[in-house]
């Protein structure tokens, strides 16, 4: 149900629909893109970032919100080195989303003794929220080379070539693996995959499972994980990595989020699959991410000496919900535009080709609202532009919205908005961490025996990821790290020493840089309570054995 001003604007949108359907908006050229990004993409706001004072990326820029966590004191400054590990394994996987679970499946199949830990439940990850699809060049008119060129173009040609290569070459094999596990892709009756465009694709290579693509993939691989009987611990958050005293990673220290108890795991190799940083709300943007997306893996890897890549670029998804207020910032999948819905301003006009890459489309929406004053104002004073969803019904036939976007239809229907009859209002929302821990094509980081896969890893997507390449990358690199970490663990005969020796030099750097001692990380979970309640009685530090650093 829309208020009067929005209804008026929606009427203008209806009036221009017929004209708009005939209108062709060309793709932007390189210079026009650059100009738009510089003027309106949030990454280009000088004051939103600062140069890091400590660590492997010292001197490089990153958003303040992330810098505050990278330039922060550990929760535990000295690990109790006596005592036995709670678990002693070959491969420790931290994170239970698509990357972690696929890594676990492969590592165990390779004969490694595996433990998977997650601070929430297995499957509580951005993976389940990925609605639109997964890319793979598996049709006759497409090729991995074309996919590669699209990936690089989307990333502004800054991607690490060997990572992009792994991504596109493994893609068809990933789809096959999922098909064998029983993922229900949208198919023609003869088994042909139904594929559509995403922003920045030159071929229709987006495979989907209605708008539950990530959820369907996750529930299937999680079911397989349970069948394989792989040991796991839920509601246990890693707060520090362990090293052997010579810089090689050898496990991690955990806190049980329900009891406050601390324990440690010894592992020959460690895979970080901790996901992204959406819950940092960079520049106060709302976000599409799940509750645990707090950049923990970046913090842990950084303190262990790993180099991060592209941490000065955040992906804002062009179409987050702008109204109703209750679900502001939640994702409206790019698939909506893939199906033909147009972006329309308050006056009823289009202003950008809808399937430009995400950074470009998001910038165009911000320009429309903030630069040109042609946004629609919401009851809470927010701004947005329309997504003409009823147009999908005209283009693709009646019933398409309900059939292809059931989750989204349901979500808006709860608030009285019938999206196959009325348009929906959108504005960019923080969505993805384009960069992360720099890896090679086996998922190995710059730190010995430390691997990273999924959103926590960086380099694959350069400065901007395309739709459908994230569900792909978590599985490609999840599987690659699983294999590599299992092999590396096998080569190690003796169980490694477990120390926090690597923390001491980092502490010295923090002190030298005058970082306030009250600033602690990892964050583990966001705190959305009223400001006066925040920080009180939080789960950390309840354990009397936990030596919290004194201020």
């Amino acid at each position: 149900m829309y208020p009067e001003n929005m209804l008026q604007s929606a009427k203008r949108l209806e009036a221009t629909r017929e004209e708009r359907m005939k209108q062709e908006i060309p793709l932007l050229g390189a210079d026009a893109k650059k100009e738009l990004l510089h003027a309106f993409h949030p990454d280009y706001i000088e004051s939103s970032m600062r140069k890091l004072l400590v660590g492997p990326n010292q001197g490089e820029r990153t958003p303040h919100e992330l810098a505050d966590l990278l330039e922060a004191y550990p929760v535990i400054e000295s690990h109790v080195e006596t005592g036995e590990p709670a678990h002693d394994v070959d491969v420790l996987i931290i994170g239970g989303g698509g990357a972690g679970v696929s890594a676990a499946l492969v590592a165990q199949a390779a004969g490694a003794k595996v433990l998977l830990s997650t601070k929430l439940r297995i499957g509580d990850a951005n993976t389940v929220m990925a609605q639109g699809g997964i890319q793979a060049a598996d049709k006759a008119n497409d090729s991995p080379e074309r996919h590669y060129l699209d990936v690089l173009g989307g990333g502004h040609f800054k991607n690490k070539p060997e990572l992009a290569r792994a991504l596109v070459m493994d893609a068809p094999g990933i789809i096959r693996w999922l098909e064998e596990l029983g993922v229900m892709f949208d198919k023609q009756p003869d088994g042909t995959m139904i594929t559509i465009h995403g922003g920045g694709t030159s071929r229709k290579r987006m495979h989907a499972c209605q708008d539950y693509t990530g959820a369907e993939i996750m529930r299937v691989i999680k079911d397989e994980f349970r069948y394989r009987d792989i040991p796991y611990i839920e509601f246990a958050a890693a707060v520090e990595l362990l090293t052997d005293g010579k810089g090689t990673v050898s496990g991690a220290v955990f806190v049980n989020l329900e009891t406050g108890e601390h324990f440690f795991v010894r592992a020959k190799t460690v895979i970080l699959a901790t996901g992204g940083c959406g819950r940092l709300h960079v520049q106060d943007f709302p976000c599409t991410n799940h509750y645990g997306a707090t950049a923990d893996g970046l913090v842990l890897a950084y303190r262990a000496g790993a180099k991060l890549a592209f941490i000065d670029t955040i992906q804002y998804h062009p179409t987050g919900v702008a109204h109703p207020e209750q679900i502001v910032g939640q994702l409206i999948t790019e698939k909506v535009r893939g199906l033909g819905a147009q972006l329309v301003n308050a006056e009823g006009n289009r202003f950008i080709y809808e399937l430009e890459s995400r950074d470009v489309t998001a910038s165009a929406i911000i320009r429309e609202c903030k630069g040109r004053g042609k946004g629609v104002t919401t009851p809470t004073g927010g701004l947005g532009v329309w997504l003409d969803t009823p147009l999908i019904e005209i283009l693709k036939g009646e019933g398409t919205v309900r059939k292809s976007l059931p989750a989204m239809f349901h979500q808006f229907e709860r608030f009285g908005i019938i999206m196959d009859k009325e348009p929906i209002l959108t504005y960019p929302t923080q969505h993805y961490q384009n960069g992360g821990v720099l890896i090679d094509d086996t998922g190995h980081t710059g730190v010995k025996n430390l691997y990273a896969a999924g959103e926590v890893a960086g380099g694959i997507h350069g400065r901007n990821r395309l739709m459908g390449n994230s569900l792909l990358d978590i599985l490609v690199f999840g599987r690659r790290t699983g294999e590599a970490a299992a092999a590396a663990a096998k080569a190690l005969k003796e169980p490694p020493k477990t120390t926090t020796a690597h923390v001491a030099p980092f502490l010295a750097e923090l002190k030298k840089a005058d970082i306030p001692h009250s600033r602690k990380s990892p964050m583990l979970l966001p705190d959305y309570r009223q400001p006066e309640m925040r920080g009180r009685y939080s789960f950390l530090g309840q354990d009397p054995e936990c030596r919290l650093p004194a201020d």
């Binding site: 390189a30 439940r121 080379e145 098909e179 994702l331 959305y528």
Partner: protein, 242 residues
């Protein structure tokens, strides 16, 4: 941490918001009206560990049961998607102990008896419809349990596709069926065994195996930024499929 747009319970229309009373596990709290259950609980002072996952209606972590004033009816909703009501009396069910059968999807040869074999308890369904009534996704759960008894994988798969596995159906079932795991097996069988495989995918994999794309990819990997950029914007090299 500063107030964040979107996820802050304080992102309210200007002026002081109208407050309503809700009861979290019996304890009364005054919270601004129009919040979701999740944001209302956070406003009241809860920091979730369990009972909160994706915050977007996909993960099933925040299944919540509630009653409203003067009604005997038990209602349900996802805390992240359901707006509070005056005098709402609520409790979350963040976990339910569920039975999951052990099967190897690769080895499994589907017959009409497969679902009943792994989950014989489906035969105990007494058609009370409690599962369907409680489903926050409005899935016809009893309908797919009946289809499972008939061994109709595709019907179960189709009816259950929106399932987020929150477990509320299982919590209400007098016959102790874990409906969502039955549905998961049916969907996996449908995807892996019932529906035909994609032939174009098999062909592409053969081509990759044979090294067909190696020379092309090698050239691209070796190409510089300028060269790639030229190719990318050249409509003849990179034409867009209509």
């Amino acid at each position: 941490m500063a107030d964040k747009k979107g996820d802050s319970a304080t992102a309210q229309p200007k002026g002081s918001p109208k407050m309503v009373t809700i009861y979290v596990m019996g304890k009364a709290y005054q919270v601004p009206k129009d919040l979701t259950i999740m944001k209302a609980m956070e406003y009241a002072g809860y920091q979730f560990v369990r009972g909160c996952g994706c915050r977007g209606g996909f993960c099933g972590a925040c299944g919540t049961v509630y009653r409203t004033k003067d009604s005997y009816k038990i209602k349900v909703g996802l805390a992240c998607q359901t707006v509070i009501e005056e005098d709402m009396y609520l409790a979350q069910i963040p976990f339910f102990p569920a039975n999951r059968a052990s099967y190897d999807i690769a080895e499994l040869e589907p017959t009409t008896q497969t679902l009943v074999k792994y989950y014989p308890e489906v035969m105990r369904c007494i058609s009370c419809n409690s599962c369907t009534k409680i489903c926050p996704q409005d899935i016809d759960v009893m309908g797919y349990v009946n289809a499972a008894i008939r061994g109709d994988f595709e019907r179960v798969a189709e009816l259950s596709f929106d399932c987020i596995m929150c477990g509320l159906c299982a919590s209400r079932c007098p016959s102790e069926i874990v409906q969502y795991n039955v549905a998961l097996l049916a969907r996996r069988v449908t995807g892996a065994k019932v529906r035909p495989r994609a032939r174009h995918l098999a062909e592409r994999l053969k081509e990759i195996e044979a090294g067909k794309f190696e020379p092309g990819i090698e050239k691209l990997v070796a190409a510089g930024e300028d060269e790639l950029s030229k190719m990318f914007y050249d409509k003849k090299v990179r034409d867009i499929e209509p």
